[in-house]
Every structure is written in C-alpha cells, then in structure tokens.
C-alpha cells in the first residue's frame, strides 16, 4: 500500500480556480514544467513555498498546490529571504516577471545575490509588462514601440545573466519556455543547487509582445550543450558567454559551490536545525543577559 506521503504530489489546484492567463501564453509551459520538476524532485506541497510579486507571471503560485506568499510588486526577493532564514526546511522558489524582478525589484536582486540565501528565482522573461498592458520592461529590446514608448524603447536592455554572474551568483541559467524538456532539467538543477539560483526563462507574451514570439526565441537562441569544453564554474568564461547577444545561449551558464548560504552564515542553524517557529523562547539566556547588565 502506498501511504499519502509516498504518493507523488500532482500539485494540481481545484478545477474551479480560474486561470487568468491568455490562451497560448508562455506562462502555461512554465507552470507545467515547474510542476514536473517538483514531482521529479519528490517534494511535497507542504515543503514548498512559492513567493511572487505582482504581474501576470506572479500569478503562478495561484495555480500550483503549495504554500505561497503573493506579495508586492518587486518585493518577492526579500520576502523569500526572510522565509528561508526563518525556516531553512522549506524549499523556497520565487516565480515572477521581468518587470517585477529586474525593474521594480532590481535593487533587491543585487543584494539578494550578495546575501545568497538558498532560494531559486524563476523569472518569466517576456520582455514586456503584461499585466499593465504592454509597456516596456527592463529586458525589452531597443527600438520596440509600446504605448508608453511611441518612438521606440531608447534604454539599453538589462542582461540579467551577466548581472548575476558579475555578482558571483552560485547558479545562473537561461531557459526557453518553448522547450519544456530542457527547461525541466534546468529547473531541477537550480532547485537542487545550494545558494541563490537564477533561471531567466524566455516566455512569449502572445498579446503584448508581437516581436519576441515562440518562433523568434527559437531562432535567437542555442543550447551551450556539450559540443565543446565549457567550464561552467569558470566565472570569466561564463561572463563571456553571458554577454553573447546575437544568439542567446541557453542552459546552465554559471554554477559553482564556492559560497556559503545566508542561512549557514547567520549561524542560527549550526547546532539547532529547527526552524524558528518550532523553538521555545530561550528565557534563561535572555534573563542571564539582563542579569549581567550593570
């Protein structure tokens, strides 16, 4: 007999939950791929907390049966850091948009990579603001005409992969929502990797981005693969790969285990592994501290 805890989770939400994504949107394959990755990793719903900001991508936690914290636009990363620091037993995954993580939350991205909590950050990179109806995102290509950039985008797009490598993030990958099998493997590796993992997933927005379509992403990407001797832990090599932009490299671009995680560094779990909520308040230590004062 198979007990409840041995059964694989399906992570399905009840059918009455109304999905707000447009038919054909690249968010669907990301959702399916993430589900399969979590199944492959034999995780239970209760062990996972999804964290998101605001946007179309940020609605993903609504459609996956796990714990979730759907917070403010741009602020998913500090929330995820706090959750992981208070309970390292949880698998903490951020799923949010390019505007959310790279725009409104750009400052948090920089400093969360520096802090290095063991979390996975999945960015649905559709190179556009979907929820607010088609304005430029930090990843929008130069020249794209949008309702708020009628003359075309003039700002240089951000290169999140290069940014993360420059900050020595332990795991940096790029995937394409149109390639579910490859993406699933990348996600599994990212979740398993200790420390901050960034997975930027190219995601077609079929309504507001008519340029960067499934077809476009196919044509403008290639997998690093095994065709040559690429040292994924070499930062300089990874950086050189990251700045290739005529065709974007896909796959794990940078991975290493040279950095301590935030949860380890704060020293709170070295002896006692229990999450904070399971601990009794240590009155005697606190009283002793008070008694030692003069």
């Amino acid at each position: 007999m198979v007990t409840a805890s041995q059964q694989k989770e399906d992570f399905n939400v009840p059918p009455e939950v109304d999905n707000q994504w447009c038919p054909g949107c690249g968010n669907f394959p990301i959702l399916q791929t993430l589900k399969k990755s979590l199944q492959d990793l034999d995780l239970r719903s209760q062990e996972i907390t999804l964290v998101s900001g605001i946007g179309q991508a940020a609605k993903l936690p609504q459609y996956l049966k796990t714990n979730y914290f759907n917070g403010l636009h741009g602020r998913a990363l500090p929330v995820a850091t706090g959750i992981k620091a208070a309970n390292p037993e949880q698998t903490v995954i951020v799923t949010s948009g390019d505007g959310d993580v790279y725009g409104e939350g750009g400052n948090h991205l920089i400093h969360t990579i520096r802090r290095n909590p063991n979390i996975t950050v999945i960015v649905h990179d559709n190179m556009i603001y979907g929820l607010t109806k088609g304005q430029a995102a930090p990843t929008t290509q130069e020249g794209m005409v949008t309702p708020t950039q009628p003359e075309g985008v003039i700002d240089e797009p951000i290169n999140p992969v290069a940014l993360a490598i420059s900050l020595d993030a332990p795991f940096v990958a790029r995937a394409n929502a149109g390639d579910p099998k490859e993406t699933q493997e990348i996600l599994k590796e990212a979740i398993n990797h200790s420390g901050f993992s960034l997975v930027d997933i190219f995601q077609p927005c079929v309504v507001f981005n008519k340029v960067n379509t499934y077809q476009w992403f196919k044509e403008h990407t290639y997998y690093i693969g095994d065709e040559y001797d690429y040292d994924v832990s070499n930062r300089a090599e990874a950086f050189a790969k990251a700045v290739e932009e005529d065709k974007f490299p896909l796959g794990v671009i940078y991975a290493h285990d040279r950095r301590k995680t935030f949860e380890d560094a704060i020293g709170m779990y070295a002896v006692d592994k229990r999450p904070l909520y399971k601990r009794e308040m240590n009155c005697s230590v606190r009283s002793a501290l008070l008694a030692s004062q003069k």
């Binding site: 917070g71 403010l72 706090g82 208070a86 501290l289």
Partner: protein, 568 residues
C-alpha cells in the same frame, strides 16, 4: 564665597564632538550610580562625528528624577567655545570647572587645564579621567571606588593604560578636593544603597530588552538615526539569544524580509525613523492585507525630509496613524519611561502576533539617548505564547470566524497549506474579485472586527493625580517624566497628568474620561498638535490648550512648568 552642592544637582559637560564628552560622562555617571546616587543623563549633539558643539546633562539626586532640567549647577567646558553654547542655561549659582573665561564669575571658576595635565601624564586622552576626577573630588566622592571602576573599564587595554588613567583621575580628584576646601564647597545629599545594583541603561536598550522579553527572533533593518540603536542592540546579542539579525540594504527590503520571516513563523521587528518608515508604507499595507504580524519601532526626529537627524521630535504620529494605502487597523504605542519601553515593546510584539496586525512602538531621539537607573526587578523575561496553530488538510489561512481572527499556521506546520495574498482573497488565500462576497467579508474581518478587538484590549493611560481633576495635562511618549515633574511643581490638586502609553486605538473608558473633563491641555513636540487632533476626533471634544514645541529640542522641567502655569 561658599557654595553648596544640593540634592538634585545638574552637571553639564560640553565641548566639540570627539573631545571626550562621552567618556567623561560615562565614567561619571557609572561611578555616581555605584556610589548610590540616582543618575539621569541626556545628551544633545549635532549630526557630525567631529567638531560642532555638544553637551551632556547629568542630573544627580537622592530620589529618582528622570527629566531634563535646564539649570546648570556645575558647568564643565572641554572647549573654550562651550560657554557661549550653554550660556542661556547658567544661573547665579552655576559653578564652572575647566577653561577660564573672564566673562563668567571668576570666583566660582575652578581652573583646571585638563589637557595640560593629561599631556604631562603622556597623552591628551587622559584629559577625560582628569575631568571626571575633578568633578568627583569637588563632590566629595572618595577616590577608591572610581579608581576601581577605571580599572574595570580599561581592563582590556592593559596595565599601563589603567595606571595612567588612574593617575589622571587622582590628579583631577586632588584639585577638585582642594577647590572644595578652599572655596568652602559643601555637599549634602543622601545616597540610596539600592541604586548600586540598579541597571543603568539607555531608553533604546530598554526597548531592546523589551523586544527580547517579547520573544523577538527576527529583525532586519536599515540604519537611520536615531533608530539604529535597536538594530545594534539586537545584532550584539542576536546570536546568543537566538535572534536572526540582518542589516538590509534599504527599508523596503528590511520590512519585506521581516514579513517573510513572520509569515514563516518568526516574531519580527523592524526599527527605523520617519524617513525610513515612509519607504515602508506599502509593506505596512501588505502586513495588514496578508494579516502577517509585524512590530515597527520608530525613533522620531524632526522632518521634513532629512530634517535634523540628531534632534528630537514627535512629528510622525500622523504618518503612522494614516500610513499605508487602503483601510485597516493598527495599534500604536508610545512608551515614556524605560520600564514602559520594556513592557510596551514586549506587548507590541505579542499584540501583533495575537491579532495578526502591524503594531508600532513610537519613541524619539531624546528617549533613545537618555540614560536611566532602573531597578532590575522591573524587568522580567517570561515565556510568551506563540499564537500559531498546526494546520490540517482542510486548512484555510483566512477562514471566516465569529471574532474575525483566522487561526494562523505557518508553512510546514501540519498537513495544510498556508497561502497569503496581497490581492483581495478568499478564505483559502486565492485572488478574488467577488465584490459583494469575500471583499466585504474580508474587510469586515480586517477592519471592523479587528477594531472592536483592539479597542477592547487598548491599554489605559497612566494617570498621576486624581482622575476627576478639573484639568488634565495630557502627554504621550517621552514627555511623560517632564510633564509629571512640571505638574508636581505646580502642586494643584485640580491638575492631573494623563500619559498615553497607547495612542491608538483608545478604549471607551478613556475616551469618556477625556470627554468629561473640564479642561484638557495637551503637551507634545510638534507644530500642529497631532495627538491633540487625534483626541479631538476620538473623544469628540475640543482640546482647550496645546503646548507645542518643534525646534528639535526637548522640554525642560522649568520651561514646561511655566508653560503649563500659563494655560491653567
């Protein structure tokens, strides 16, 4: 000319930043406390690390007197320009110790060139010990105990430094004694044996111990004067006490990280000043919407914008009352003494958890930096209850209940899932736009039912004097002691003090008391009477008189006594 050092003696040490005011005051206050004097100290400083003109006032008395007095009994300038800075505080009886300045009564000047003496010993840093020694000698404090204190104070610096400091102390002490003898300075006040074992702590450390007593185990904050002391305190003691402490890279990150931790079951606090809190407002609203507990500690300073970073104010009450978009409940506390700060901070943390709301502890620069002697028995650390439950398969984070509180679980604790959302949501935590159903039910729960619970649980104000007096002098936060003393000076049975330790919400009884009083006077440190306005609205009456000050400085007992007399 003979001089008398009376009970309730005010010593002011003034000079440039970096000239040693802190060290002299530190030695002096600790030694006097160990001698059995009640000591209260408050500092006034500029927002710079070197130069400027700063001062510390040390009030020494045989009974507890924890308020700022303007009068100076003994003035100790560490810089020739200090006279000008403090001149308005001098009286006919002020004694001077240090650099000579001809304009001031030369007869009562004890000229001691601290620096010259220190340099003779080997280094000008010993000037601090010379100054402390001279003051103690003048006050007739025996040399042994101060010498021993210096040994302990410099123990890590090695025998040579200890010896030289002791030598400097003795040199100063002899001069002080000699001056007292030759000028017929006598000293008469009683000491209190019990004070020797008291705590001697700052207002901000009282908040820190209160946070520990309240079971805090997470704090992420961003430095900003005058609030940083709490972050420092928790960082210093975090590891041993089991508190995760992280300096964030901005206030938005700080509060969101703390909310994440709180959602996962930690008891979280953030500390900031008005400007930093302004950045946290969106997340305050998130705390309310997701019903994630948090305590926000705000040490106020004058604004707008960067304002006066090292001065004091009570200007952020309006901000805190109204901060955050949308409509929701919060509880706001304003302790005025270290004991209150201790109890209230613990209470604020517990209230946040119990009612799943944001709570505030509002203090100010003056209170942060003031130093008090406190009976240790007043501070007790007791286990707190965790207001979280184990979830089952059917668990719904926002289950609708009669009292409006949904049992709170955390991820991983039980078989259920904990889903929280900043969008309007259903009982499970999923986004909904059901405007007639869930929207109304969730607003009822977050706003109206919570209001009822919080009002019922609101702390009564502290009343000094009879409740039915004709005039109530109302204060909140750090004005408590100075108002108490001013009203005590006025000595009128028909004038009582009402101190609000909780400013919002108020219970019915309190509102009625204010409404039914003949005359209500409100004292606060802002230009518009923010608390007076709140009282008018909450208690449905006009506030008769407002005593306001907003130049960045605190009230002195003398000043406030006159101002209250004027409006009676």
């Amino acid at each position: 000319m003979s001089q008398h050092i009376k009970d309730d003696f005010s010593i002011v040490i003034a000079g440039q930043a970096g000239q040693g005011i802190q060290s002299v005051s530190h030695i002096l206050t600790h030694v006097l406390k160990l001698e059995g004097y009640h000591v209260f100290a408050t500092k006034e400083y500029m927002s710079r690390v070197r130069g400027g003109m700063n001062s510390t006032t040390i009030r020494v008395s045989s009974k507890k007197r924890d308020a700022y007095q303007s009068k100076v009994d003994l003035f100790v300038p560490l810089d020739p320009n200090a006279y000008e800075h403090s001149k308005k505080r001098f009286t006919d009886e002020t004694m001077f110790l240090g650099f000579k300045k001809e304009d001031f009564c030369s007869d009562c000047i004890m000229e001691v060139d601290f620096i010259n003496i220190a340099q003779a010993i080997g280094n000008r840093v010993f000037a601090n010990a010379v100054a402390a020694g001279a003051i103690l000698g003048l006050m007739g404090v025996a040399i042994e105990q101060p010498k021993e204190y210096l040994r302990q104070f410099f123990v890590k610096k090695g025998e040579d430094i200890i010896k030289k400091n002791q030598e400097a102390l003795e040199k100063g002490h002899k001069m002080g004694e000699h001056f007292a003898f030759s000028h017929d300075v006598t000293c008469s006040f009683e000491t209190d044996e019990d004070v020797k074992d008291d705590l001697f702590i700052s207002g901000i450390d009282a908040v820190g111990f209160g946070a520990l007593a309240g079971g805090v185990d997470f704090c992420s904050s961003y430095p900003m004067s005058p609030s940083t002391g709490l972050l420092t305190f928790l960082a210093q003691h975090g590891r041993e006490c089991g508190v995760v402490v992280e300096q964030a890279t901005d206030e938005i990150g700080a509060i969101n990280m703390t909310l994440g931790a709180s959602y996962a079951g930690a008891r979280g606090i953030v500390t900031t000043a008005g400007g930093g809190f302004a950045l946290m407002c969106e997340a305050l609203s998130l705390s309310a919407m997701t019903e994630t507990p948090i305590t926000i500690h705000i040490a106020q300073r004058p604004g707008p914008a960067t304002g006066l970073p090292t001065k004091t104010a009570q200007e952020d009450l309006d901000l805190v009352l109204h901060a955050g978009h949308g409509e929701f409940m919060r509880a706001i506390y304003a302790p005025g003494t270290p004991v209150e700060a201790y109890e209230i901070t613990a209470h604020a943390l517990d209230t946040a958890d119990k009612y799943q709301i944001p709570t505030f502890v509002l203090i100010d620069q003056y209170f942060v930096d003031a130093l008090y002697t406190i009976d240790k028995e007043e501070f007790k650390i007791l286990p707190h209850k965790k207001h979280i439950v184990e979830s089952d398969r059917e668990y719904k984070r926002y289950a609708l209940t009669d009292d409006g509180l949904s049992p709170r679980s955390v991820p991983g604790y039980g078989e259920g899932l904990v889903c929280v959302d900043s969008d309007e949501h259903d009982e499970y935590g999923r986004i909904t736009e059901d405007v007639d159903g869930f929207r109304m039910q969730m607003m009822e729960k977050r706003l109206f039912k919570r209001k009822e619970l919080l009002e019922k649980d609101a702390l009564d104000p502290e009343i000094v004097g009879k409740k039915s007096a004709n005039t109530l002098v109302v204060c909140w936060g750090s004005n408590r002691n100075v108002v108490d003393e001013a009203v005590e000076n006025i000595d009128d049975k028909e004038v009582s003090v009402v101190h609000f330790v909780q400013v919002f919400p108020m219970n019915k009884k309190t509102k009625k008391m204010i409404k039914d009083t003949k005359k209500v006077v409100v004292v606060e440190n802002n230009a518009t009477g923010q608390f007076a306005n709140l009282l008018q609205k909450e208690c449905d009456r006009k506030i008769d008189k407002r005593i306001l000050k907003w130049n960045g400085e605190l009230y002195s007992v003398e000043e406030l006594t006159e101002k209250i007399k004027d409006v009676l």
